[in-house]
């Protein structure tokens, strides 16, 4: 791992400090132990020298992305690490001359806290990643972030940046938003960003308005309600962060630092934080090429066919058209359905792309397709029939199926590409290989998923693959509870209290009860004992805790079967599937290795 170094150069009477790890932008600069040592020696020099100002910036495209997450997971004494940050940053804050953080690139967590300890900030207009991801990892910004940000931009905006954005798929700020919120004092063009930041530091003309604390209680109440909606109390971090922001009104900065130290000491060792750190690494690793992917060259995909024109097929067609930008045809048995799908697709895409999508009821249009994806309803016979038709007209095409539970090989497809609803939002695609999937077909499927900007996980051709298999197993428990006297609301609340993003009843409505039932029947066909079609009765009404424990136990048990059956090569793939495909929050850590659900 590249070591971060603070490098000091003289630019006239201005100190120019660069945070650099000697690597290019693909290895972002983090703050670990070695960075602190180097920062201390630079601050010593700043305190000794006769500087008129200092500009702190990063290597090209990266300012600083905060604490090193690997190191964070290994800390023995959290309080010491937090204190070291406070000590270092408060020395920057106390320098006897103006300091400017020139935010030239990604500026996250501890990097942003460093910037907040400067007198002022400039930001390059091309920066796209500014924010505090800590709460998404079930911790808080502990190096002064909860204290300085509300003092700068007010408690409401600070709560949005620190508490709410991390819970919205870890939303980050772009330069313009950071400037408009008041985090940066100047929005500068990238072309001469460092030069202009130096010029700004020499004059330092700042206009700021005082933050508005007048309606703190209402703001806190509203934010807390939103946090409840998102995590249902399942992780403490967002609530703690909110309390710290509110506390900033009355605390001195040292009292605020102390409160951050207390909070981080508790949170860093919490199971949620440990699970989130693990889950974060699992998800990040899944964005790279998996080791079990064959070396074969992917086939160039120059024309795509979609079988079906329903809701899922229309979403898939739109995604393929937008991302692959190649001619696309779709087919349904009714022209009116095709027309409706085409209209919907054309209204979504750029004008040129609208001219290269077409559809009809015949098969001739599939001639010359390199990839055909079927998304007709879940009926083995229908799927078998349409795939045979496609095979006749386009014998060289790779045939893929979006089935959620049926046998890929059994229906005559080459590979499974299982997308999740809504397609535009859900990042996961389960790529199912069969015994007959060729290396080229698999490599092509992987490459297509990458070009679609989705996260692929390789799975075996087993009923329900990973996500539906585990969720269906969980649903069995929930149905049992309802059958035994619990209300739908009680069951929903039990699952939401885990921090799940969506109530099971809402999810079932979205998937469609018929589809869910069909998936269950498919699973039942393979494993009748674990997936009974009729809910078991008896045992009476259960407490929420009992429902929750039973649900997790069922998932944990099914994970064992998934692993024993060899559906995935790496157990962490199961966790990645649950996080990316079922939207499980990071702080649950998936279901296998680091999570709350342990086996």
């Amino acid at each position: 791992m590249a070591e971060t170094v603070f490098k000091l150069r003289r630019a006239g009477t201005v100190a120019l400090v660069t945070i650099d790890n000697g690597e290019d932008h693909r290895v972002p600069t983090t703050l670990g132990r070695s960075a602190f040592e180097s920062a201390i020696s630079v601050i010593d020099e700043l305190e000794r020298g006769d500087w008129t100002a200092a500009v702190i910036t990063g290597k090209p495209f990266v300012f600083c992305v905060g604490a090193d997450i690997d190191e964070l997971g290994r800390v023995e004494d959290p309080r010491e690490g937090i204190r070291a940050g406070h000590g270092l940053f408060s020395r920057i804050h106390a320098l006897p001359f103006p300091t400017v953080a020139a935010i030239n690139g990604a500026c996250l967590g501890g990097g942003l806290e460093l910037a907040l300890h400067c007198t002022a900030r400039t930001i390059s207009s091309d920066v796209r990643h500014v924010g505090f991801p800590e709460v998404a990892l079930s911790i808080i910004p502990g190096w002064g972030g909860t204290q300085l940000l509300p003092r700068l931009i007010g408690p409401e905006a600070a709560a949005r940046v620190i508490v709410l954005n991390p819970l919205r798929q870890n939303r980050l700020l772009r330069a313009k938003e950071a400037f408009e919120l008041g985090i940066a004092d100047r929005l500068l063009s990238p072309v001469e960003f460092v030069d202009e930041s130096l010029a700004f530091a020499r004059t330092l003309a700042i206009e700021r308005s005082d933050p508005d604390w007048s309606d703190l209680e209402t703001g806190v109440r509203k934010t807390r309600a939103k946090v409840d909606d998102a995590v249902h109390g399942a992780t403490r971090a967002p609530y703690v962060a909110l309390d710290l922001i509110a506390g900033a009104r009355d605390w001195t900065i040292d009292e605020g630092y102390a409160a951050e130290e207390d909070a981080m000491t508790e949170l860093l060792v919490s199971p949620q934080a440990r699970a989130a750190a693990y889950a974060f690494t699992v998800v990040e690793r899944r964005s790279k090429r998996p080791p079990n992917l064959p070396e074969a060259r992917p086939r160039a995909v120059t024309k795509v066919g979609i079988v079906g024109a329903g809701l899922m097929a229309t979403q898939l067609a739109t995604l393929f058209l937008e991302r692959l930008q190649v001619p696309l045809v779709l087919r349904d048995i009714e022209q009116s359905r095709v027309d409706a799908a085409l209209e919907s697709i054309r209204s979504e895409v750029k004008p040129f792309l609208a001219t290269i999508v077409d559809g009809g009821t015949g098969w001739e249009q599939f001639e010359g397709c390199d990839l055909v994806l079927e998304a007709v309803f879940e009926d083995m016979d229908v799927k078998r029939e349409v795939l045979a038709d496609v095979r006749r007209i386009a014998p060289d095409a790779i045939l893929a199926t979006n089935t959620s539970s049926l046998s890929v090989e059994g229906m005559g497809a080459d590979v499974g590409l299982h997308f999740f609803n809504p397609v535009a939002v859900m990042p996961l695609v389960e790529i199912a290989r069969t015994a007959t999937t060729t290396d080229e077909q698999l490599a092509t499927a992987w490459e297509v998923v990458r070009q679609l900007r989705k996260r692929g996980v390789l799975v075996g051709d087993a009923p329900g693959f990973v996500v539906n298999r585990l969720l269906t197993r969980m649903t069995v428990v929930l149905m049992d509870a309802i059958e035994s006297g619990n209300t739908v609301e009680e069951v929903d609340e039990a699952i939401l209290s885990l921090g799940m993003p969506m109530a099971p009843s809402v999810l079932r409505e979205m998937v469609g009860p018929a589809v869910a039932q069909h998936v269950l029947e498919t699973m039942h066909a393979s494993w009748p004992e674990r997936f009974p079609v009729a809910p078991a009765t008896g045992g009476g009404r259960r407490t929420q805790e009992q429902i929750r424990d039973a649900a997790l136990e069922a998932v944990a048990d099914e994970v064992q079967h998934v692993l024993a059956d060899g559906v995935v090569d790496d157990p962490a793939d199961v966790d990645a599937c649950l996080i990316l495909g079922a939207g499980w929050p990071l702080f649950l850590g998936g279901a296998v290795t680091g999570g709350v659900v342990r086996t």
Binding site: K7, L8, R9, A11, G12, L16, V17, T18, D20, G22, T57, K59, P60, S189, V191, E192, V194, D195, L198
Partner: protein, 392 residues
């Protein structure tokens, strides 16, 4: 006959010059970004000029590949934030690239094709060593069209010593020493403050300001120079001390038609009186400025005595001394390179021309002189000379 319009030099600016190679200040900076910096500084200093009034952006580079490729003038204009309606192109005449950019732009202005133009050059010799990727036609050698030594500039400098034995190693070293001394003085004079723009550059040591030339050697002595080994021929006379080092640098100048000056609120500094290019034997390329100078003086009908400042490029001390001897100018004539030359500041091939003109404008104003001459020798055996007259 249709009348040509007068062309004026308004302003010129350069980056500091850096040593080519991993230790130089611009090693991790792109050539086009350096040119962009010079162009943006030029526009910043002349805020009354609406950028959309620029008629053309002419940028020179000898190696027109990589970060100096993509028809550089256009590339640089877009990167500098000049509106896309303003066109641009690239030129190459090796060391006279920027002077050729100036005369090409001047031609457009004189004929009324443009009212205002940006002309400059860039050479990142660290990224593009001279002659790299050049595929010499074997006919040059097999038919003895040129002497083989013509391809290596240092060897052509040795050839000059051979041809003009009166120019000794000692004279060359003395000239080099004077160049360093004049440059040291110039850095405490206003000329560098006026013509050099500091640029923040990313280096292995973090961001730093590139604000001084890396070739300044105030500690230079005759003894020190005498101790240097010949660089191109055993027993030769050309050393690292009496020649210009390999350089990274960029320049940009603003030119305008007389008719446009008032409209866009620009103050002219020099009027372009005339220019000439000349060809000579390629293996004696350093002699090129001699016929070019004679030709431009003849065109204008003036003599060398009437010229108040002479800005000659100094790739090699022997090259300037050849020009001095041929034209009867003393090497220590105070009109000649008053702020030192390439030996002390570096020579980024296609960028150098604008440095000469910008320093000439400063020198003529400082001395209240009238005429000035900028001249360079050019690889493959050429010379360039532009004659200027101070205005304002």
């Amino acid at each position: 006959m249709r009348e040509a319009r007068e062309v004026y030099f308004v302003d010129g600016v350069r980056t500091a010059f850096g040593k080519a190679g991993p230790k130089g200040q611009f090693w991790r900076t792109r050539a086009d970004d350096m040119a962009v910096k010079a162009v943006r500084e030029l526009l910043r200093r002349n805020p009354s000029l609406p950028p959309e009034r620029i008629g053309d952006v002419v940028m020179a580079a000898t190696a027109q590949v990589g970060d100096q490729g993509l028809t550089l003038g256009r590339d640089v204009a877009l990167l500098a934030g000049i509106p896309e309606t303003v066109p641009g192109f690239a030129v190459d005449r090796m060391c006279a690239g920027a002077l050729t950019a100036i005369t090409a732009a001047a031609g457009e202005i004189a004929l009324g094709a443009a009212d205002v133009a940006v002309a400059g050059g860039v050479e990142h010799m660290g990224h593009h060593p001279m002659g790299e990727d050049v595929d010499f036609n074997p006919r040059f050698v097999s038919e003895r069209l040129i002497d083989e030594s013509a391809a290596v500039m240092g060897k052509t400098a040795e050839n000059l010593h051979d041809r003009f034995p009166a120019i000794t190693r000692e004279r060359a070293d003395a000239f080099a020493l004077a160049s360093q001394q004049k440059a040291v003085a110039a850095w405490s004079n206003g000329v560098m403050r006026e013509t050099v723009v500091p640029m923040a550059v990313f280096t292995d040591d973090g961001w730093k300001l590139a604000e001084r030339d890396e070739f300044l050697r105030p500690e230079t002595t005759m003894e020190g120079l005498a101790g240097l080994k010949p660089a191109f021929r055993p027993g030769g006379r050309v050393t690292a001390g009496n020649s210009a080092g390999l350089t990274d640098g960029a320049t940009a100048a603003l030119l305008a038609a007389e008719e446009a000056l008032d409209e866009v609120g620009l103050e002219p500094r020099l009027r372009l009186v005339g220019y000439a290019y000349a060809g000579v034997e390629p293996h004696l390329m350093g002699i090129g400025p001699v016929p070019a100078t004679r030709r431009v003086l003849e065109q204008a009908g003036i003599t060398l005595d009437e010229i108040d400042v002479l800005e000659l490029n100094e790739p090699f001390a022997v090259q300037v001394l050849t020009w001095c001897d041929e034209l009867g100018v003393d090497a220590d004539d105070p009109r000649l390179n008053p702020y030192g030359g390439a030996i002390a500041c570096g020579h980024p091939l296609a960028a150098t021309g604008v440095r000469l003109v910008a320093q000439l404008a400063y020198g003529l104003r400082e001395r209240k002189g009238r005429y000035g001459l900028t001249a360079l020798c050019i690889g493959m055996g050429m010379g360039a000379a532009i004659l200027w007259e101070r205005v304002g």
